[in-house]
């Protein structure tokens, strides 16, 4: 219930010494402001880094061939080898924990000369042969058209999916690339899809220069026999990818006569592990921010408690009068605690608003200047964090008012009345 007299008294107390009130409020303001800025920056860093994962399934592992490091079954060390189509069949057959299996082969040996031509225009691009499953593991962001499908694979169609950078370099602005033909290392391909990378910075630029074609087409057209470049694999949803990783490597070693103890013959990268490490790092950052932030906030709140003690002392006589006239302890205690809560909450709310405002401004500037900020994207704080911070403030305000409030009623009314 709104109690005008209570608010009149709060106003009187807080406005009596404006400089003092302001300085006290500033302590709390600064605490929450710093907390918001630090949490928001942490979030920005996290967004920046995780965006580089794109929408890639985090339960993925990538496996490729390297040279053997141990002699085995009569083979010397330092032997090179290739994965083959039969490996893919074997993996799919004998490891039920696999959800998606996407073999890939990359057309190479063209780094010096323009490998893609359209009329008078040409450029150097990365050429990948992929299965439809790849778009499940690391989904592309299509502007138009589609990805490779099973029919493309089966019929070894000469179709290509290209990045925006490819389109920019080979087409005029007004031209529609879909269903147009480009010449890739001497062979004509029809464009069936255009995508733009979801990643940021350098990585995005790289990806936008990619050209994807059916795996089988690439193998056949450019004479790769039945070789496979590398495998992208995801595990079933409830199974850690490390299980799949281990089984797949063991199977591949067996099939290629590699010593079980050979650590370097099969190259592999577990995205899950990387991702988990990153999450751990961000959790650490967040924890640190909360510790530092609440520490700063605590300093502000102690300031409030101190000032409330001074206020209570200054108002001893006034409180004595109120008690003589019949104010029960509860009235005095709630009054002082309300003053404390109002001061903390107002100051803190202001800090919250200014902090969020600043983050929004940074966001806006990042967006409008188009700065290449690979590591810092969308700083901001969650609504739930803001609510938590405000709750902490109200509780802190109450706690800050508690000691002064009890101090106020611990003295006898007559001593309060006589206080000079």
């Amino acid at each position: 219930m709104f109690d005008l007299d209570r608010w009149q008294e709060i106003y009187h107390v807080l406005s009596k010494n404006k400089v003092r009130t302001f300085l006290t409020a500033f302590g709390v303001f600064w605490g929450i402001f710093m907390l918001v800025i630090m949490l928001g920056s942490g979030k920005g860093l996290q967004h920046g880094v995780t965006q580089n994962f794109g929408d890639m399934a985090t339960n993925s592992v990538f496996i490729w061939t390297q040279q053997t490091s141990l002699p085995y079954k009569g083979f010397p060390r330092g032997r090179g080898y290739n994965f083959e189509n039969e490996d893919a069949v074997a993996l799919a057959h004998s490891i039920p924990e696999i959800k998606y299996l996407a073999p890939r082969i990359q057309a190479g040996g063209f780094m010096q000369t323009n490998n893609v031509i359209r009329g008078l225009k040409s450029g150097i691009f990365n050429i990948m042969g992929d299965y439809p499953a790849f778009n499940k593991i690391d989904p592309l962001n299509f502007i138009s058209g589609r990805f490779i499908d099973d029919l493309d694979i089966r019929e070894k169609r000469k179709v290509a999916v290209v990045g925006t950078r490819v389109v920019e370099l080979l087409f005029n602005k007004e031209e529609k690339p879909i269903n147009q033909y480009i010449q890739i290392q001497g062979v004509y391909f029809k464009i069936i899809g255009v995508f733009r990378s979801k990643r940021t910075g350098e990585q995005a630029d790289q990806e936008n220069q990619n050209i994807y074609m059916p795996f089988t087409t690439l193998q056949r057209t450019y004479n790769y026999g039945n070789a496979i470049g590398f495998f992208s694999i995801t595990s079933q949803d409830d199974i850690p990818v490390s299980v799949v990783e281990e089984k797949a490597i063991r199977l591949l070693k067996q099939r290629h006569s590699i010593a079980p103890a050979d650590e370097s013959a099969v190259g592999h990268f577990n995205l899950q592990k990387e991702f988990d490490q990153m999450q751990g790092l961000f959790f650490g950052i967040r924890l640190l921010v909360w510790i530092v932030g609440t520490g700063t906030l605590l300093a502000g709140v102690i300031g409030v408690s101190n000032i409330m003690l001074v206020v209570v002392k200054e108002r001893t006589k006034e409180i004595g009068i109120q008690r003589a006239l019949g104010a029960v302890p509860r009235v005095i205690i709630t009054q002082i605690m309300t003053e404390s809560i109002v001061l903390t909450t107002f100051a803190g709310y202001f800090g919250l608003v200014v902090g969020v405002g600043l983050l929004e401004l940074i966001n806006y500037l990042l967006g409008s200047t188009g700065a290449n900020t690979e590591m810092f994207v969308h700083p901001g704080i969650d609504f739930s964090v803001a609510v938590t911070a405000l709750t902490i403030l109200v509780v802190a305000g109450a706690v800050a008012g508690l000691i002064p409030a009890y101090r106020a009623i611990s003295i006898k009314p007559i001593d309060a009345l006589r206080y000079e």
Binding site: Q8, E318, R323, G326, P329, V331, K412, P413
Partner: protein, 225 residues
Amino acid sequence: MIRIKQIHKSYVTGQNSLHVLKGIDLDIAAGEMVSIMGASGSGKSTLLNILGILDDYDSGEYHLNGLLVNRLSERKAAQLRNRMVGFVFQSFNLVSFKNAMENVALPLYYQNVPRKKRNLIAMEYLERMGLAEWAHHLPNELSGGQKQRVAIARALIGNPKVILADEPTGALDSKTSLEVMDLLQEINATGITLIIVTHEHDIALRTKKTIRITDGNITEIIMNN
């Protein structure tokens, strides 16, 4: 209305203990108007504070309106003060940030009377004090006599059984003192018990009974007429 038996009170400060009230016996009937006189430091204010439940006593018995007042919780004490006792102080003790009307209404605020209603009642009391036009002035805009009349209105608004006044005219000139005494006499005439601590004989003479305290004991009770 007030009945005290063998009240003792000492102030302890550090090592020293000062025995201020040394066994006071006193009966004051409902509707009486009594003055308390005595040398400075004789214990008049100490006695009055005990009567007003602002302070406690060491031994003895104090009955207020038939109720034993002894070591009450502060909540009980505050409620009892609010319902039973009105205070008039030498230094007025108005709340500085509240205007005259709000000051008068304060005891009703602690009874949770709604603001509109208590301000209306406060206005009635201010009118009785002839202060209606000062209702919206802050205490520091009022003269001493006006302040004391606001304080009296405030003491009255809760319909107390007893009004305790510690040197109510001590800070006033003689003309204003007389006006305040007129007011207090009128109040007493409505049946409210009145106890006034004073140093002035002509003030004491306007009460029905004067109690003289010397060094913590009642030494004399004089009937005035």
